[in-house]
């Protein structure tokens, strides 16, 4: 397996959806290619850091205000009757 082939399979490998044969070939490549090992490892960390980052959490006070505005508008819409939105 060449480095470019490894890269093409990287996403499927990280998602755990590769068939056994391709996975074994990829892991063999990782065992001797340090650059691909580093790319694989740091890409995995990138995903984990974003997943755990709690970027853009909705604060509770804003959350209740938004929900209440949504429900008020929904009820107004219902009173107006069915329409194409």
């Amino acid at each position: 397996m060449k480095c470019s082939e490894f890269l093409n399979e990287l996403t499927s490998y990280l998602d755990g959806v590769l068939d056994e044969k391709t996975k074994a070939e990829l892991e063999n490549h990782l065992s001797w290619c340090h650059n691909c090992y580093v790319v694989c490892d740091t890409t995995k960390k990138t995903i984990e850091i974003y997943r755990d980052s709690q970027l853009y959490e909705l604060p509770e006070d804003l959350r209740s205000r938004l929900r209440s505005a949504i429900m008020t508008k929904c009820q107004q819409q219902k009173k107006r009757g069915p329409q194409s939105v």
């Binding site: 890409t43 990138t46 929900r67 505005a69």
Partner: protein, 235 residues
């Protein structure tokens, strides 16, 4: 029948408290997705309201063959892209951007990262780094990354929500992941020992400060737009 489907059917029969429960269940996800796409807090708030209102108004048309959440995400993504187009009319905003050549996803930097690199920064600094870094991706790439890797939708659900093919989602996801990795590298790279700023050459506290300073030199993370955040993609 799933709990979600029971709520949807009750909401269709006119039970507003069931719809409110769906809002409670998904408002945080819709807000995160909207803010990732629009990169603007007020726009994201508008998108949350508009997406739920549209879902409410069109509930009778929801076919129940897909998940309500996937359907809602599709509405929210469309609303968010409309906001982005209005805000940046000079730039084409589309999920159907051309896939560039293979070279654009070839990693430029292969240097390894420090162990637990995120711990070199305070929470606020880290959030700013992550936010600015993802802003530098084209909308079509960051949307796929957010749905798949932050919100945890499957490839098929992401494809359905964005009306893209499964291979298109996979291709964008790979490029998004590699570009983010490449850009984060400047903040998280392992410093070489022996050059006065490296691992093991100073105490932990000093190293942390020096590493931060180094990263600021490279990207000026605090308060100033950087080359990380500018531009539409990885050249």
């Amino acid at each position: 029948m799933s709990d979600e489907l029971a709520l949807v059917q009750a909401a269709k029969r006119g039970d507003d408290s069931a719809f409110e429960e769906l809002v409670r269940r998904y408002d945080r996800n819709v807000f995160r997705i909207a803010q990732h796409i629009t990169q603007n807090r007020e726009d994201a708030e508008d998108v949350v309201q508009e997406a739920f209102l549209k879902a409410y108004g069109n509930l009778s048309r929801f076919q129940e063959q897909s998940k309500f959440y996937t359907w809602l995400v599709r509405i929210a993504v469309n609303e968010a892209l409309m906001k982005l187009r209005r805000r940046k009319p000079e730039r084409t905003v589309s999920l159907d951007e051309d896939i560039k050549t293979e070279e654009d996803s070839m990693p430029r930097e292969i240097a390894d990262w420090s162990p637990n690199p995120e711990q070199q920064y305070t929470q606020a600094e880290l959030r700013e780094i992550l936010s600015k870094t993802i802003q530098g991706l084209p909308p079509g790439f960051r949307t796929v990354f957010v749905l798949r890797d932050v919100e945890g939708l499957s490839t098929e659900e992401t494809a359905a929500a964005l009306e893209l093919s499964v291979p298109a989602v996979k291709s964008r996801l790979l490029r998004a992941r590699l570009q983010l990795r490449d850009r984060l590298g400047r903040y998280f790279q392992r410093r070489e020992p022996g050059n006065g700023r490296g691992e093991g050459t100073t105490s932990g506290g000093t190293r942390t400060e020096e590493t931060r300073n180094e990263a600021r030199k490279g990207g000026k993370i605090l308060g100033v737009d950087t080359d990380v955040a500018s531009g539409d993609g990885h050249q």
